[in-house]
């Protein structure tokens, strides 16, 4: 059991899986010699050769689109989007092709493709690099959307994604790459999709988050603790499939919920979380479910991102409101 940061856990998982299954091939910008912008593929080209770790031309559409063809040929491609924001260049290939090829071909062509994509803010990137687009992909049936919040989960969920037969958008929190560190077992393991994790027990309010926002929720829980409010923190782990039952149960236990996420409010995935809670745990609710999110403005330039992103303080405000204390 080693303590790894998230990028190390991901790199190690890729290495392990590539050893295990030679059908796996990595595609992306700068992933070979350079080892990826964040070193998530460091040394893998040396280890597995240029045929399996492929530096691609700068074109997200064909990075994803050729993965579709590679999968049709029987391989298991893992394309990387250098940043999720540039997934928009491949949006037609992701929502229209990767997500639907199984259906379109009536299972003749399964799509065991894992699209890795770092995203999320507070790391002073230039424009468009930090956008949290997960809701757009969650509304694209055929795809699964996975959002680990710890190094441990990153390994287990990535292994599950790679070994599965369905296409996965695997969203990695940029801010967590080096900051999030935790104990990661050496041996192989998978974590099932659609099972949330209780990141922190608590009895008054349930905070629901995923990816880097789990850390924010945990910080908010700390602050709330100091005011005598006990917060449970739920890490969804995967958005599609969504753990509907687990969510309903967690919220029912407290009767109050706040969702925290980095995407803009309107039509962000937090809306789905609220709607699901309302459908499945309405009678247990003793307060409106609130959302703490980025505002309905584009991800701003770096000097503004701290104010833009949901913070522990803003989350605390919402916690107080659902407690009727503000």
């Amino acid at each position: 059991m080693a303590t790894l940061n998230m990028v190390q856990a991901i790199r190690a998982t890729l290495e392990r899986e590539m050893e295990r299954d030679e059908r796996i091939i990595l595609l992306g910008q700068d992933i070979g010699r350079n080892g990826g912008m964040f070193r998530a593929t460091d040394g893998l080209q040396e280890r597995f050769g240029e045929a399996r770790v492929v530096d691609m031309p700068l074109a997200e559409g064909v990075i994803v689109g050729s993965a579709v063809g590679l999968a049709c040929s029987g391989l298991r491609p893992i394309p990387e989007l250098q940043f999720l924001g540039f997934g928009s260049q491949a949006f037609h290939q992701i929502e229209g092709q990767v997500a639907r090829m199984r259906f379109r071909s009536q299972s003749r062509y399964p799509m065991p493709i894992v699209i890795r994509a770092p995203f999320g803010g507070n790391v002073r990137t230039p424009e468009l690099h930090s956008d949290a687009h997960e809701a757009k992909y969650a509304n694209s049936p055929g795809l699964k959307v996975v959002t680990p919040a710890s190094a441990h989960d990153a390994k287990g969920l990535l292994t599950e994604a790679i070994r599965g037969e369905d296409p996965v958008l695997f969203c990695e929190p940029l801010r967590g790459y080096r900051l999030i560190k935790d104990a990661v077992p050496d041996e192989d393991y998978t974590l099932p999709f659609g099972r949330l994790r209780i990141a922190r027990p608590g009895s008054d309010v349930t905070l629901v988050a995923w990816s880097a926002a789990v850390v924010v929720a945990e910080q908010a829980a700390e602050l709330a603790e100091q005011e005598g409010i006990s917060c449970q923190v739920v890490d969804l782990r995967t958005l599609v499939p969504l753990d509907v039952e687990g969510l309903a149960k967690a919220v029912s236990a407290t009767g109050r919920a706040v969702v925290v996420h980095e995407a803009p409010l309107t039509a962000g995935f937090g809306a789905e979380v609220v709607a699901t809670i309302v459908e499945h745990a309405f009678s247990a609710l003793s307060a409106p479910v609130l959302r703490v999110t980025a505002p309905d403005a584009p991800y701003p330039f770096s000097s503004l991102e701290r104010a833009y992103l949901p913070s522990a303080e803003r989350s605390l405000g919402a916690i107080r409101r659902v407690m009727g204390a503000a």
Binding site: I25, S66, Q97, S105, P141, V240, P241
Partner: protein
């Protein structure tokens, strides 16, 4: 700017089979007689399917259908250069005969046109990707497929079909560029039928040929008369040989003409100049092959008659079989969405199929 097959501006397409069915002295087709006849039979089949599908659509028995009419030499000449047992076809939506050649069936195609997803299920072992509606989206797939097959030591070649319209999409460029870098064994078969629905090729591009684009990706481009079965076939054979030998991709511009409407919903009289259409009718690709075969005494009126009768039977059987299956069942909405469907989707299935019962 006009890039008609008959025009003189820009590069001249390679032509072997003249509109009157004659070939240059001493030219010997690279196909055995039986294959030539098989190709001609497929042309007749294609024309007949066009007609029949239109009628069925008008009777409300089929949904949208896009005829091949005018492009038979282009589609079939190229398909006959492939080896269906190892080579692959990646279609757009107007290449039924190439799909049939690979092993797809008429019955499935009719199901497809009836709006049943089973119709887009390529039979096991048949080297075909499904019909693609998102224009040009299949071109990157073809490159990945070719690359992946090569990666696994296969000697397969992939032929991807798309239109002059589709060639304007970014996917075309990204795919050609990647194929050039990876020297993927892929043939970019661009059917320039002069129209993208109502958009003439003069509004589609400022270039006087699409074939020249290949240079910008580091591989050869060929321009052929797409109404000439032999020119198309020879160019594709060459491209197959190059790809098979590891020499990488080829772009073929097959300059042809869409003689019918875009599809069953289209009214081309709004935008097609009738004189232009007439001019192209004189270049009919099927008539040319017919003249050649008659002249070569490979075909007789009687043999043709027999072919047509057989085709009629096959088609009638396929229509009957497809219609016997009846319309789609609601479960089909859910059947092939995920290998491992989310519980939520299963609940939705129960709700919807339950109600439908």
């Amino acid at each position: 700017m006009s890039i008609l097959t008959t025009s003189t501006g820009g590069p001249t397409p390679v032509r072997i089979l003249a509109p009157d069915g004659s070939v240059p002295d001493g030219y010997r087709p690279p196909l055995p007689d039986s294959e030539l006849l098989a190709a001609y039979r497929l042309m007749l089949m294609s024309r007949r399917v066009d007609e029949r599908a239109f009628n069925l659509q008008r009777q409300g028995r089929l949904g949208v259908f896009s005829p091949v009419n005018g492009q038979e030499a282009s589609v079939i000449g190229s398909a006959f250069a492939l080896d269906p047992t190892r080579d692959w076809v990646v279609p757009q939506y107007r290449e039924l005969p190439a799909m049939l050649r690979q092993g797809y069936t008429l019955e499935r195609f009719l199901l497809y046109c009836m709006g049943d997803p089973e119709g887009n299920r390529m039979p096991d072992g048949v080297n075909l990707l499904p019909i693609q509606i998102s224009l040009a989206a299949q071109i990157p797939h073809a490159v990945g497929l070719a690359w992946g097959l090569r990666h696994q030591g296969r000697d397969s070649v992939v032929c991807v079909y798309f239109g002059d319209g589709a060639s304007s999409e970014g996917d075309f460029h990204e795919a050609c560029n990647l194929a050039g870098v990876r020297r993927a064994p892929v043939i970019f078969f661009l059917q320039n039928n002069r129209w993208a629905i109502s958009t003439p090729v003069s509004k589609q591009t400022g270039a006087d040929s699409f074939a020249t684009r290949a240079t910008g990706y580091g591989f050869p481009g060929e321009l052929v008369d797409g109404n000439d079965f032999f020119a198309v076939h020879e160019a594709t054979l060459l491209a197959v040989a190059r790809a098979r030998a590891g020499e990488g991709p080829t772009l073929i511009e097959s300059r042809t003409y869409r003689m019918g409407p875009h599809n069953t919903a289209d009214d081309p009289t709004r935008y097609v100049d009738p004189e232009e259409l007439e001019a192209y009718r004189a270049l009919d690709p099927v008539a040319r092959v017919r003249s050649f075969l008659l002249e070569a005494e490979l075909l007789s009126e009687e043999l043709e008659h027999r072919m047509r009768a057989e085709i009629e039977e096959e088609l009638a059987a396929a229509v009957a079989a497809a219609e016997a299956r009846g319309a789609g069942r609601p479960e089909q909405i859910f059947d092939h969405v995920y290998a491992d469907p989310p519980p939520r989707l299963l609940d939705q299935r129960d709700a919807i199929t339950g109600e439908a019962q």
